[in-house]
Symmetry: C2
Subunit: 97 residues, 2 copies
């Protein structure tokens, strides 16, 4: 859903998570939490990060794979190409809410 993509990008914390996954894809929830805290000074609860990841997954920006008790998160930037092409290239309008 196109709507989900823009909603996902609207939050600064989610953008930092994308930065984190750009730096190292395939992190678990706890890894992401730790790196948000240590490298970005973000004091944020595990649930908050979990909810952000769900939003990013709904937007197609993150894919997940389960391995035992771990769940790894991988970045998928393909939806992003798709977004700028809407206005940078002469393309027809899309959603009408």
């Amino acid at each position: 859903m196109e709507e989900d993509l823009f909603k996902a990008l609207a939050d600064p914390t989610r953008r930092v998570i994308l930065d984190e996954l750009t730096d190292r894809s395939g992190q678990s929830l706890f890894e992401i939490c730790a790196r948000l805290a240590t490298r970005h000074g973000l004091a944020i609860s595990r649930q908050a990060v979990s909810q952000h990841l769900a939003v990013l997954e709904a937007a197609g920006l993150v894919t997940t794979r389960r391995e035992g008790r771990y769940k790894f998160h991988d970045l998928d930037t393909r939806p992003l190409e798709h977004i700028v092409s809407r206005w940078l290239t002469p393309a027809p309008p899309e959603d009408t809410p």
Copy 2:
């Protein structure tokens, strides 16, 4: 401001306005209102559109010029290039809210 850009893109009505300005740049507030109604079926008040345009202008996506009692709105897509390059190319992370 980077934050303003993503916030601006988060709203579906604002994205349709960008579509409208992509189709024809330099429209006045009333023109945009009319075309949102006729071409997109959006029953939206003039003030709402005005506020949306202010948000788009704060994001740098729209520039305005006054001529008499008219105020024309022009599209500027440059901030958009800037946004996807953050994750599509190996670039350093940015905002930490």
